[in-house]
């Protein structure tokens, strides 16, 4: 046996999670449920940001037909539609995971959370795929 004392350096996993935001945002060492929690928060924050963006953009409607219809043209461009697909995926993940959180979190389904998460996320993926196709083809 030999010993060496190395320079301080950051190993693969690092020190204990910091308190607050940084702590729960840190995915290292997380398992399925922890990832679900993380994903739910990230999508949640994204949706809050979207909600306020949406409300601000709707103000264009109050400026009359020209402003709105110009915006609609932009909104139908492919990059914008791609954002729509991301939005749809976010809503599906957050909403369907929310069903799991509600059922499990009130103790209605106390212990099947893992299966529920996998099943609901599979549904989310399928619907997001179908919705994405429709968004692009219907435009």
């Amino acid at each position: 046996m030999a010993s060496t004392t190395a320079e301080p350096r950051r190993p693969a996993v690092g020190p204990a999670r910091r308190p607050g935001f940084v702590g729960w945002f840190d995915p290292r060492g997380r398992r399925l449920g922890g990832i679900a929690f993380l994903v739910n928060r990230i999508t949640g924050i994204g949706l809050v940001v979207y909600l306020y963006l949406h409300l601000v953009i709707l103000a264009l409607l109050a400026q009359g037909p020209t402003a709105w219809d110009t915006f609609i043209e932009v909104a139908l461009s492919p990059p914008f539609l791609a954002l729509d697909v991301i939005l749809l995926a976010g809503i599906l993940i957050h909403g369907l995971n929310g069903i799991r959180v509600g059922l499990v979190g009130l103790g209605l389904v106390a212990s099947r959370q893992r299966a529920l998460f996998v099943a609901l996320m599979a549904i989310a993926a399928l619907v997001a795929l179908a919705g994405g196709l429709r968004i692009f083809t219907a435009g």
Binding site: G44, L47, L58, A62, G98, G105, L106, A138, G139
Partner: protein
């Protein structure tokens, strides 16, 4: 909740607040319905998803739609800000700061709904 006190000193259950979690689940359940209606009503009834100005205004003249949209706005704001509150509370602020956060978010929520209602009026006015 007075969690600064040791648990044993906390008052026996009087009338208790509904925990944020229950509010979140109930509003979330309502959103599943309201968001569905909102998406169908606003984006899926026409092939292109988004609609031109005339169509939006026409749609908004229906009082049922106005009620649904305002209800959606109230619930989605409540759900969103309750979520923000839960995230902020995980920073472990003091009880006092938490009360302030709750108050601030309540003001934001009321302002958001007021803005939405005013917007509907303004849109109908602009047409």
């Amino acid at each position: 909740m007075t969690s600064d006190q040791p648990a044993a000193a906390r008052p026996e259950a009087g009338p208790r607040m509904v925990p944020g979690f229950v509010g979140q689940v109930l509003s979330g359940a309502a959103l599943l319905v309201l968001l569905g209606l909102h998406m169908i009503a606003q984006h899926f009834v026409v092939p292109s998803g988004l609609r031109d100005f005339a169509a939006v205004v026409d749609w908004l003249r229906n009082p049922v739609v106005i009620v649904l949209e305002v209800a959606f706005l109230v619930v989605v704001t409540y759900h969103a800000l309750l979520g923000v509150r839960a995230i902020l509370f995980d920073f472990g602020f003091s009880e006092r700061t938490e009360h302030r956060i709750t108050g601030f978010l309540a003001v934001v929520g009321i302002a958001t709904v007021a803005y939405g209602v005013a917007l509907v009026a303004a849109i109908l006015d602009a047409a």
